[in-house]
């Protein structure tokens, strides 16, 4: 530019000379006045109240260098459904200081200036609001092409912290008779512009036809939901519908609790059940909505640890393959897997016992029953069902410490099969089947229990009557739906019953005895109340439900437990027949399961078995809602496993979330990953030397299933062998120290003592030393099989393949081994920095161990190292 100016100057001089010298003082040249052109440019469009994020735009001018005032104006959002910011929502300031007044000011020689839009956090729930700023054309300047900017002011950014949770419970619509129930959540994103709607429901009286969101109380429809069935993270943009024209009106109605979702059915075209969306400030949304690939991987492993007897590469791959590249559908994939598990045929423990017995002639049959747990747990395809059966067996406890129970080698597995059969039914039916099962009858002594005999001074047995309330249903004190104890006027917990109730309850369970007995090798009706407790080979009496013998049942009036001001009273029955006794039992069981404290009590116990020792009250409440009045176990297991608290990926670094793995589950996941097996196939022979069992239902198992004559592993716990009806551990056990002082519980740690730790270490030593076998006369001297055939061994093929295929030095190979084991047995948690110690210890020792010792050493480590015993 400098060169050009010089040329002009020269020219001017020449003109002056050429002018003949007519003027002696030259005047300055007239500079044509340049027009001032002003414009607006967007710098940062978004202002956010909660984080005080500031939006910015810039004014620019060209032409002129004097001070100038620019007039401006605001305009409404052209989309009338959307919000417009008002004066109370923001403050305009200059970035170089000072408030913006009635006009934008540019000083002399100031060509641009940044204006900040500072949001005012008004704590009002508002939809995103537009702030549209335009320059007004006046005579002092011209407007450039960009004369308007649009900024938005929102309440909060869309992250998990700012999500708000609305919850609802599906209940019958007015005038509708249904057992339908369900739960709903709506996660409103931080800017209030949209949210994710999810719900499940069950027990509808007829097929679903439609589902909508409506406005209460009018019932006007505000949102059509295109599909039918459950919703999982269905995106709802809160677009105005029904009577509403703006998004803000929708948002206000949402927060006012005016929206409800209802489910229309064939029987009730106007809607069978509805759930109102109620804002719940106590519920924290999941930490993240977007998971990384790594988090998805770990979550799959966490999910499988919660829902099966242990993850394996096959089942991991099965789920992983269904998850989209962005990972958004992972909950749906789990949900689908759960639905598949609902339909998977049930493996039968009794059937497996029956099939195994002929191989072992005169062996003590309870041993065969004890062994039969392992093939089912390790290889059964109905993993979730069997996990639920195991969980139920720790609530509705019977134990083979009782000699009759133990010797009922068909009755006890029949009890297990009954639990497995009910795993996806209702708790109500489960409790009835438990009550009538002769194994429970003998264990809690209501089998052959009879009405009071005033002459002899004999009273009904109170054992079952007490425990069915204390342990199987509502527990000792009244509770809220979230499990919190309800206090009475004296500030003390309110007991659910007293001893007079127990005495009355004991009458309900009088008159029950065997319905079947054995006659000449066949099952026949039993008509003798005091039929003996014989445990012969057939055990027909132990595998059929008990029946009422009306002569021994107490038909008098019974005043039973109370709930929410209502006392259950069974009036004296005139017909005094078995049907009346059965009906009475039904009424009592209905009342027990529907009692308002039962749902939270059983919900908490089940969450503890699957996910975490210390669920939040909100988590308990969500699962209790799913439990409903009858204990819908499908809804319950969905609610437990898919809950935001169960799926929260950030718990992987929590020092409290999760649970100590109970020994049976720890051992099972270990044996599953190592494909533990004997040489004797449960199905067809694999070689001429070793005949297979040709078990009829082998298709219900994963391939590789074998006869597992392991004997008891002394790890501190054996399925169906709790020390008492109070189970292996108390749901409230809090070990001394930081756990108790933090008001936390850890039920499973009740089994962890000095002596048990050594015993468990020694059991893992026995397993890796290929001594995991029941060494009885019947295995030592078996005509077809050697003790080596019976021995259950770990399969190290996968470890060996990893070692051999990993490039690099021994440390690299060892690292690959550790990461593999960590991935499947520990959801990859060892790889985190905080667990560096165990990881390093494993790697350094595995790197130097001999080939002969290497894989055993790895197996020993994962059996004993602390991190592998924690399920987060």
């Amino acid at each position: 530019m400098k060169a050009l100016t010089a040329v002009f100057a020269t020219t001017a001089l020449l003109v002056g000379c050429g002018g003949g010298g007519a003027s002696s003082t030259p005047t300055p040249p007239v500079v044509p006045s340049e027009p001032i052109v002003v414009s607006l440019t967007l710098v940062d469009a978004k202002a956010i109240e909660s984080s005080n994020q500031i939006a910015k735009f810039k004014i620019d001018r060209t032409g002129g260098n004097g001070a100038v005032s620019l007039e401006y104006e605001f305009s409404d959002n052209p989309d009338i459904t959307k919000g417009t910011a008002s004066a109370g929502d923001y403050q305009l300031t200059y970035s170089d200081g000072g408030d913006v007044g009635a006009s934008f000011e540019l000083g002399a020689n100031q060509n641009s200036r940044v204006i900040e839009v500072r949001p005012i956090d008004d704590e009002i729930n508002e939809v995103p609001e537009a702030l549209i700023v335009s320059l007004v054309d006046t005579s002092g300047y011209n407007l450039g092409a960009d004369q308007s900017v649009t900024l938005t002011i929102t309440d909060a950014i869309n992250d998990s912290v700012n999500s708000r949770v609305f919850l609802g419970n599906f209940t019958p619509q007015a005038g509708v008779v249904t057992n339908g129930s369900g739960v709903l959540s709506f996660m409103l994103q931080g800017d209030n512009d949209a949210g994710l709607l999810s719900y499940t429901f069950s027990n509808l009286g007829s097929v679903q036809t439609d589902q909508h969101v409506h406005l209460a109380p009018s019932g006007v429809k505000v949102k059509e939901i295109e599909s039918t069935g459950f919703l999982s993270n269905y995106s709802w943009d809160l677009a105005p519908g029904g009577i509403f024209v703006t998004e803000q009106q929708m948002l206000d109605a949402l927060f006012n609790g005016e929206f409800f979702v209802n489910i229309h059915t064939a029987n009730y075209p106007g809607g069978e059940i509805l759930a109102t969306l109620v804002y719940d400030t106590t519920v924290e949304p999941p930490e993240e909505t977007e998971l990384t690939d790594d988090q998805i991987d770990k979550d799959i492993l966490r999910f499988l640890t919660q829902a099966t007897f242990g993850p394996t590469p096959d089942i991991y791959e099965e789920l992983r393959g269904q998850i989209d590249s962005d990972g958004d559908n992972f909950i749906q994939v789990y949900s689908d897997w759960i639905e598949q598990q609902f339909e998977t045929p049930t493996t039968s423990m009794m059937s497996l016992v029956d099939a195994t017995i002929p191989l072992f002639g005169e062996e003590n049959k309870p041993n065969i029953r004890q062994d039969s747990f392992w093939p089912i747990a390790l290889y059964g395809r109905d993993q979730l069902r069997q996990r639920m059966a195991f969980a139920l067996s720790e609530i509705l406890v019977v134990s083979d410490f009782n000699s009759v129970v133990r010797n009922a080698h068909r009755g006890l597995p029949n009890y297990w099969d009954m639990l497995a059969g009910n795993a996806f039914g209702t708790y109500r039916q489960t409790l009835e089947d438990v009550t009538l099962h002769p194994i429970m009858g003998v264990y809690l002594s209501h089998l052959r229990n009879q009405k009071a005999d005033l002459e002899t001074g004999a009273y009904p047995d109170e054992n079952f009557a007490r425990e069915v309330m204390q342990l199987f249903t509502f527990g000792l004190v009244h509770r809220q739906q979230n499990g919190a104890v309800i206090l009475g006027a004296d500030n003390l917990p309110i007991p659910t019953y007293d001893n007079s109730v127990i005495k009355q309850m004991a009458k309900v369970f009088t008159g029950l005895s065997f319905s079947q007995r054995e006659v000449s090798g066949a099952s026949a009706d039993n008509n003798k109340f005091n039929r003996g407790l014989g445990v012969n080979d057939y055990q027909f009496r132990w595998i059929a439900p008990m029946k009422f013998f009306p002569d021994f049942h107490d038909f008098s009036e019974k005043t039973l437990f109370s709930d929410q001001g209502q006392t259950l009273v069974i009036s004296a029955n005139g017909s005094m027949d078995a049907g009346a006794a059965q009906a009475e039992l039904g009424t009592v069981l209905d009342g027990l399961v529907a009692h308002s404290s039962t749902a939270p009590v059983i919900a908490r116990k089940l969450i503890q078995r699957f996910v975490t020792s210390n669920p939040s009250p909100a988590y308990i409440e969500r699962v209790a809602n799913a439990f409903g009045l009858t204990g819908d176990l499908k809804a319950v297991i969905r609610a437990i496993l898919l809950d935001v608290e169960a799926r929260n990926p950030t718990v992987s670094s929590s020092t409290t979330f999760g649970k100590f793995k109970e020994p049976v589950l720890h051992l099972a996941s270990y044996l599953r990953l190592f494909e533990a097996a004997s040489r004797i196939p449960l199905g067809q022979s694999q070689s001429e030397d070793i005949p297979g069992l040709n078990y009829a239902y082998v298709d219900q198992f994963d391939s590789g299933v074998s006869l597992m004559r392991t004997g008891l592993a002394n790890v501190g716990q054996t399925a169906l062998r709790a020390p008492s009806v109070f189970n292996f551990f108390s749901p409230d056990f809090a070990p001394t120290g930081t756990i108790a002082s933090n008001s936390l519980v850890s039920p499973e740690l009740q089994l962890v003592t000095e002596s048990q730790i050594f015993n468990s270490f020694n059991s893992f030593n026995r397993i890796i030393a290929d001594r995991f076998v029941r060494k009885s006369t019947y295995t030592r001297e078996h005509p077809d099989y050697s003790i080596a055939d019976f021995t259950v061994r770990l399969n190290y093929d996968r470890l060996e393949a990893i070692w051999n295929s990993t490039a690099g030095d021994a440390a690299a190979k060892a690292t690959a081994l550790v990461d593999y084991l960590d991935f499947y047995l520990n959801a990859g948690q060892l790889a985190q920095t905080q667990n560096a110690g165990t990881r390093a210890a494993m790697i350094s020792n595995l790197a130097v161990a001999s080939e002969a010792e290497r894989y055993q050493l790895a197996a020993y480590a994962v059996g004993t190292a602390p991190e592998f015993l924690i399920q987060r």
């Binding site: 002899t456 850890s746 003592t753 165990t838 494993m842």
Partner: protein, 494 residues
């Protein structure tokens, strides 16, 4: 002391920040005395001969102690017994008579000395008649003295969840109040900390798993849990395996999951105690006392209870390997919840208890320790006096309330009944229904006397038993609880 343990002393101290026993003991030795008033200073704990041990045996499930101690003769007590118990009443023939050196007090009845023990309890009767054993009648969990009228009028504080196993068992081991915070054994260990200076073995030793009794209040004195037969060594725990596990355990610090920390602490405790306890057992085995022979001679059947008590006898014999002079032992045995088959099943249990206690006594006597070990035998409740069926073999009894405790040891004024025996009359007096007797002595009162013998000053007893002050002083002569020789006596015989 030999500490041939894999964890070196230096490493041990380094890790003590999360090995709670050490910190607890260290804190106690400087801080705990502050809890005691000046007049109640503990005796010099340095005297190695000043050794006392308490063994608390819990008969779990609710012992039907009214068939363990049975009225005889032809008086009202016996007729009430036969009337109430009906088909589960034990006939007089076959009972082992007891020679009470003073009449037993009977509540609202005539004092009597006509009592006998269950037919399977010959050894126990022998202990009683040799004045090595005493019976405390009708004790139970109580918040305050309770009458039948108050019970039915609901004008008295009752133990929470009466008749529930877990609750009553926990209250027997702590206090009849909610919420549970500590057991009286655990609290006692805190106050007795100056006597228990061993840094590697806890003074709280259980041979029956974790329990409420041994949960401490302020500090973290963990329960050390022995196996039924003592310590099982770790097999093949050498080389890389050992290095790997120890490094792994050592890497767990306060940033780890709390449950992993607890697991690691318990592993450390096991490793630290392993060698010491092994030495204790070796010392016992080489002491010349024939444990198996003595228990067998007493009628022991190698039952769980026999094994557990044998293990405790050996621990006590080898006590010089630790510097704990006030150890507190816990042992239990289950099976007492005889809702059915009371007569056969309870009979078998009585035989087991009788033989096991006799074997334990004889071993302690052979070791020269019977004067140093007080054994207290209790149960969460007794059972309904009336049966729940009309078949003598098949019927059982249900959950009750007051029942009998037993105490054993040379320091016991044996051969006597303490407290007050119910008159066994139904629907009056002490009966809350079906012969669930209201206890006339609180468990806390009995336990307080045992704790005092261990060295807890009287003024500190309510620190173990917060409801104790609701009752008359257990040392008052009116309470009839003078079962420990040399214990204080207050008041005058009326």
């Amino acid at each position: 002391m030999k500490h041939s343990n894999g964890i070196s002393r230096r490493k041990f101290l380094k890790r003590s920040s999360h090995y709670s026993l050490i910190t607890a003991v260290a804190a106690n030795s400087v801080g705990m005395l502050g809890l005691l008033s000046a007049s109640d200073a503990l005796a010099d704990p340095g005297d190695p001969n000043d050794y006392k041990a308490l063994v608390f045996l819990v008969l779990s499930g609710g012992n039907d102690s009214f068939n363990m101690i049975v009225p005889t003769g032809s008086g009202t007590l016996r007729s009430n017994y036969e009337l109430g118990r009906g088909i589960v009443a034990l006939p007089q023939e076959g009972l082992h008579s007891l020679n009470l050196i003073t009449l037993a007090s009977v509540h609202e009845g005539t004092d009597s000395s006509d009592f006998a023990m269950h037919p399977s309890c010959s050894a126990l009767a022998e202990l009683f008649n040799n004045q090595d054993l005493a019976v405390i009648c009708n004790t139970g969990n109580l918040v305050e003295p309770t009458s039948r009228e108050q019970y039915f009028a609901d004008t008295v504080a009752l133990p929470p969840q009466l008749f529930s196993h877990t609750d009553q068992e926990r209250q027997l081991q702590s206090e009849p109040t909610n919420p549970f915070t500590f057991g009286w054994g655990g609290r006692m260990a805190e106050i007795l900390a100056p006597y228990n200076t061993d840094a590697q073995v806890s003074p709280l030793v259980s041979v029956a798993g974790l329990n409420s009794f041994q949960v401490s209040r302020d500090s973290l004195i963990n329960t050390y849990t022995l196996g039924n037969d003592g310590v099982t060594p770790l097999y093949s725990f050498t080389g890389y395996r050992r290095d790997m596990v120890e490094s792994s355990m050592q890497s767990i610090d306060s940033s780890a999951h709390l449950m992993a920390q607890k697991y690691t602490d318990t592993f450390d405790s096991a490793r630290l105690a392993e060698a010491i306890i092994e030495n204790a057992f070796q010392e016992a085995e080489s002491s010349g006392v024939d444990y198996d022979g003595i228990f067998n001679a007493a009628g022991g059947t190698n039952s769980l209870l026999t094994r557990r008590l044998k293990t405790l006898a050996k621990m006590i014999a080898g006590r010089a390997n630790t510097s704990n002079n006030r150890p507190i032992y816990f042992v239990d045995v289950g099976g007492f919840d005889n809702h059915q088959k009371l007569l056969p099943d309870h009979g078998a249990l009585m035989a087991d208890v009788s033989a096991s206690l006799k074997g334990f006594k004889d071993c302690l006597a052979a070791q020269g320790d019977f004067d140093k070990v007080l054994t207290l035998v209790g149960s969460e409740f007794a059972r309904t006096f009336t049966p729940n069926g009309d078949d003598a073999v098949e019927s059982g009894t249900d959950h009750g309330w007051g029942g009998h405790m037993m105490v054993m040891g040379e320091m016991v004024n044996g051969g006597q009944f303490y407290g007050s025996h119910p008159n066994l009359a139904l629907d009056e007096g002490l009966d809350t229904g079906r012969g669930r007797w209201i206890p006339t002595t609180a468990n806390s009162q009995c336990a307080a006397i045992a704790a005092h013998w261990m060295g807890i000053p009287e003024a500190n007893l309510s620190s173990l038993f917060p409801t104790l002050d609701n009752f008359p002083n257990p040392f008052d002569i009116s309470e009839n609880l003078g079962f420990i020789a040399g214990a204080p006596v207050y008041g005058e015989q009326s």
